[in-house]
């Protein structure tokens, strides 16, 4: 029974949909205390004094701490940054509670412990903090100017400069010699990740055993465990981290946060359980944000519009501190500024700057949506410059002429595993009925219709399946990129899979069961998946960078293969046959050509368990492990087409249709693929049209709530057409890539290209994100005034 490639319903959904699943906030421990965080209301300030005495008198309050109170004896190192991208990168010490200076609105300046959540929140209002304001750096461009310093003691705002720019003179010469040249400045506004489940933490000490269990709403329990040990000094083998059901993360739970370290340190000290769950408004300040870049891109082309050179220069807004992978996040896009195109000369430089805003870090796509946006907006500008339509400029520049390829060395030097770009584009344009759309657009333009139609496309490629450990090491990342799997058959023939991948909504329990069931020829219901608890699954590198399937899923497949080999050896022994003659057919092991010897593979579990009659020297039990370290990244790609109506009287944008043809290689479960694509598209379109973390000139957040921060709902997006092409990866034996971030990587550019297309008759060639109605109205006004003068 083929299981791979079927639209199996997700095994985890009943418990998630009925409320049976337990999130951190659902888990309680006797004697627990709630943390209440006093957060700086100033973006950059000296802390003159913190007085917690009145808070200590509030009902239910057990303790209150200033940063100075915690400076000794609670931790041995600042919060970790695992990605020093250059040897001389500046990384000011970042402790869970600020001591002398607060560096952003939301920086913790004191902590109150109380016996209830309400008590803690009431008490923090009684902590008196005296600040002495310093000039705040509230944009990356101010940071680059050096007019104010986010960390005055550093003497500069620039944390690092990182280049993928082997021959800058050649790039400049190629640009200078180009017939066509376009340049652009794009702003990647800050985004608030807004997972459905806010972050939360519960640290439970065992006062007599010495161990500590940390429940956290995290994507990375394994990384967190190592980092808790390194930060608090608690021995690593005394720490157990559990990520129970986790309601989304989008990269913002790929971190080691002040609250996690605080909970562990205080629980360890007080010998009482310590808990905290962030509120939405708190999350908008205390959880890392995404994007935050100003991008400059220059593109050169010859007379036919064929690319001659691309040069990209990025200013990255790191925020106030380096979180876990803050500095490396923009660099994940560095290899993609040439997109799916052949280009003989390429240079990329990223300057990272501190600002007095919430730290940035990974957010769905992490560097790649920004890169995809820059090149795909740039290709539309080039198309206009050359005088061809957007699909034509893409066709002329596709890698390998748009033909199928394996292992193509891209302009950045990375080798793309596989691609077949032209058929993917053709399929999307056909599904969109581009000719009909353009005819309708022409009709409206000629009629002077107040509602104009815009069609935008994005032909993205992304880099995922993070990753070969060696490559990550070359990039300065502290950890590797392997993943671990254990597959065991229990005495009754049921299967337990232990995975180091940590799901937070992706459907791992379903996909992993399908991979094993398909290989063994058994019912997926007979496979259970254990994960997200460092005691059950001690080895793992967790879930981010669209890596779970292409690394963790492959490890499971490989461990399953090993287990099948051992089962074959046992059955061969029982049948007095050679293991080489044993075949597996629909769940039965048998001597090839002798169906009468058929032995259900699930019966071998008991034989291995009882161990009464195993081959000489064979260990009992059926359990196999694999740590898989892929030889390369995976490079999914696709074509997205967005169709918008723009009301030129109000500036309102209506996304009326969306067509996505993604290629993530072989698909384990198309239903899950489509779900990932749907969500990813909405998240990318959200950046294009709605979302932006806004700050005033003092660095105060202006929209830290879901009333004002415009996460779109189903009423804002159309039913989408989601389809695919299949170009198997050459990176792994399953031929799979990753799809968790692809939707986001392709959609912001498609949406903005569509809005610009709608307004191109006004001479409008760029629109900053989000394309809000007011912004469009002002652009249209300015264009009309320009036209009339």
């Amino acid at each position: 029974m083929a299981v791979m490639g079927t639209r199996m319903l997700r095994k985890e959904d009943p418990k998630l949909l009925t409320g049976e699943a337990k999130y951190v906030d659902d888990i309680h421990a006797a004697g627990e205390l709630w943390m209440g965080m006093v957060r700086s209301t100033h973006a950059n300030a000296r802390i003159d004094s913190v007085d917690v005495s009145a808070a200590l008198e509030q009902p239910g309050v057990v303790a209150a701490y200033t940063g100075a109170d915690l400076a000794e004896g609670y931790w041995i190192a600042p919060l970790p940054c695992a990605w020093p991208v250059t040897p001389d990168m500046l990384n000011p010490p970042h402790f869970p509670v600020a001591v002398e200076n607060a560096r952003y609105v939301g920086d913790i300046v004191a902590v109150v412990l109380a016996d209830s959540r309400y008590g803690a929140n009431d008490a923090i209002e009684h902590v008196v903090v005296m600040y002495e304001d310093l000039p705040a750096v509230t944009t990356v461009e101010v940071a680059a100017s050096g007019d104010a310093l986010a960390h005055p003691d550093l003497g500069t705002n620039k944390a690092y400069s990182w280049a993928l720019d082997p021959d800058p003179d050649a790039v400049q010469a190629a640009l200078d010699d180009s017939v066509h040249r376009v340049s652009a400045r794009f702003v990647q506004q800050r985004l608030i990740p807004s997972a459905m489940e806010p972050r939360g933490v519960l640290a439970i000490p065992s006062p007599h055993g010495g161990d500590i269990t940390l429940y956290s709403s995290t994507q990375v329990p394994h990384i967190l465990k190592v980092m808790v040990a390194a930060t608090t000094g608690i021995p690593e083998h005394s720490i157990r981290v559990i990520a129970p059901s986790v309601g989304g993360g989008f990269g913002a739970k790929l971190n080691v946060n002040a609250d996690e370290i605080l909970a562990v340190a205080l629980a360890n000290k007080l010998k009482r359980p310590i808990r905290w769950t962030e509120s939405r408004s708190e999350a908008a300040m205390s959880t890392t944000q995404g994007r935050g870049q100003v991008q400059y891109i220059e593109i050169g082309a010859d007379a036919d519009g064929k690319l001659t050179a691309i040069k990209a220069h990025i200013q990255a807004d790191l925020g106030a501190y380096m979180q876990l992978i803050t500095p490396g996040t923009p660099l994940l896009g560095s290899f993609l500024y040439t997109g799916v195109y052949a280009c003989p000369a390429f240079g990329f430089v990223c300057d990272g700057y501190f600002t007095n805003l919430t730290p940035t870090d990974a957010y769905r796509g992490a560097g790649r949506p920004e890169a995809s946006y820059a090149i795909e907006r740039g290709m539309d500008l080039l198309a206009a410059e050359v005088g061809v339509n957007p699909e034509e400029i893409r066709r002329r520049n596709y890698a390998v002429g748009g033909e199928a390829f394996e292992n193509w060395e891209s302009p950045s030097g990375l080798v793309f595993d596989s691609g077949n770009y032209r058929p993917n584009l053709d399929k999307a344009l056909e599904l969109a009925d581009i000719a009909e759309l353009r005819a309708e657009q022409t009709r409206r333009r000629e009629a002077g219709d107040s509602v104009q139609l815009g069609i935008g496309m994005c032909t993205y490629v992304e880099i995922c399946g993070l990753a070969p450990s060696r490559a990550l090491g070359d990039l300065g990342y502290a950890a590797g990129g392997w993943e671990h799997a254990t597959v065991r058959m229990l005495p009754t023939g049921m299967i337990e899979v232990v995975s180091g991948s940590t799901p937070h909504g992706q459907g791992h329990e379903t996909s992993w069961a399908m991979i094993v069931a398909d290989k063994m020829g058994i019912d997926p219901a007979h496979v259970t998946v254990l994960h997200s608890d460092t005691a059950l699954s001690p080895l793992g590198l967790d879930t981010y960078g669209s890596r779970s399937l292409a690394v963790g899923g492959v490890a499971i497949a490989m461990a399953t293969d090993k287990l099948i080999e051992k089962a074959k050896a046992i059955v061969a022994h029982q049948l007095e046959a050679s293991p080489d003659d044993i075949v597996l057919d629909e769940g039965n092991l048998m001597v090839a050509g002798s169906p009468d010897t058929a032995t259900p593979i699930q019966s071998v579990g008991f034989a291995a368990f009882s161990a009464h009659d195993l081959p000489e020297g064979m260990e009992p039990n059926l359990q196999e492990q694999v740590s898989f370290d892929p030889p390369n990244f995976a490079f999914p790609f696709g074509t997205h087409v967005a169709v918008v109506e723009v009301d030129t009287n109000t500036g309102g944008v209506d996304l009326i249709d969306y067509i996505a043809v993604d290629d993530c290689g072989n698909q384990v479960n198309p239903l899950i693929v489509e779900g990932q694509v749907h969500g990813g598209i909405v998240q990318g379109v959200a950046q294009a049209l709605w979302e932006c973390a806004e700050y005033d000139d003092h660095g105060t957040p202006l929209n830290p709530s879901l009333m004002d921060y415009l996460v779109p709902s189903p009423t804002e997006v159309p039913s989408m057409t989601v389809d695919s092409t299949v170009t198997p990866s050459t990176t792994n034996p399953l031929g799979v890539k990753g799809v968790g971030e692809a939707g986001t990587i392709g959609s912001a550019a498609a949406a903005i290209n569509a809005v610009v297309d709608a307004l191109s008759p006004y001479g409008i060639s760029d629109i900053e994100m989000p394309a809000s109605p007011q912004r469009l109205w002002r652009l249209i006004n300015a264009a009309q005034e320009g036209a009339s003068t």
Binding site: L710, P712, S713, Q774
Partner: protein, 270 residues
């Protein structure tokens, strides 16, 4: 997002609610659907020490259609207005506007009396009642009084309602003439950036979020009465307004939207 401590009492009748309000003075707040009050309490923008829950007074949930007047109990949910065929026939503007408030959860909890008492200039239903020339019936310790909607709102989240008064009924005229409601926002669930309600082909025109209170667009109404075209009348839509500026819209953009939406509404209602 954690409210300050408060006491809570359930009122079984309007009289009991009024008596509780009298007892606790301006420290008390009435809660009907709670969809405005509770968020404000969670942000600690409102910190009443006593919350009087009037949401269970089912006697005040009714829609009575008379020959000239529709009387609606103050605790009638938006969803009940939205789905009432009697209201759709007698006052389609009000039924339609109710269907555009927030999202389904808000419409199933929110009440007509609650949204009027809250006096948010960005809310939809106050503008509809205003355009229709409705009347608000309030019950206080001294009995019942009627207040014309146009006299009801006095400032941002403020009305003529006394601390110990409660809205018990809303009356709107039967109104089947040309009507339209135009609401402009960025997400369906949000408050209007600007909204316009037109009743009786432009006899009543009101504006949402164009000042500190829901506004009658007097200049537009006068122009319509004088025979102006929708475009001519709509050009006056921003007159007498004091539009706020926020992240979604500066005042000049709101004024522009008011003109655009008023023209659309008048055209649709004529």
């Amino acid at each position: 997002m954690i409210p300050a401590a408060f006491d809570y009492a359930v009122a079984e009748s309007a009289e009991q609610a009024v008596s509780l309000l009298g007892e606790h003075g301006d420290e008390a707040k009435l809660m009907a659907g709670g969809h405005s009050l509770i968020p404000m309490m969670k942000f600690r923008l409102a910190t009443p020490t006593m919350v009087v829950d009037v949401g269970r007074i089912d006697d005040l949930r009714y829609i009575n259609v008379g020959s000239e007047v529709v009387s609606i109990g103050a605790l009638t949910r938006h969803a009940e207005l939205e789905h009432s065929t009697a209201l759709a026939e007698s006052c389609p503007l009000l039924a339609h506007v109710a269907s555009k408030v927030g999202d389904p959860q808000v419409r199933h909890k929110g009440t007509l009396g609650g949204t009027l008492a809250h006096a948010d200039p960005a809310s939809d239903l106050p503008a509809a009642v205003l355009a229709l020339g409705g009347t608000i019936v309030a019950t206080g310790p001294g009995g019942v009084r009627e207040i014309a909607a146009v006299d009801f709102f006095t400032g941002y989240f403020e009305s003529v309602l006394a601390d110990d008064e409660m809205i018990t009924e809303v009356r709107v005229p039967v109104s089947t003439g040309g009507w339209s409601f135009q609401k402009f926002n960025r997400r369906a669930q949000d408050w209007a950036i600007v909204g316009v309600a037109v009743a009786e082909s432009g006899k009543g025109v009101s504006l949402i979020n164009m000042g500190s209170i829901p506004l009658r667009a007097g200049a537009v109404e006068a122009a319509v009465a004088g025979g102006a075209s929708p475009a001519e009348a709509a050009a006056l839509a921003a007159e007498g307004t004091s539009a706020p500026s926020d992240l979604n819209a500066a005042a000049d953009y709101r004024e522009h939207l008011a003109r655009v939406l008023t023209e659309r509404a008048l055209s649709a209602a004529s």
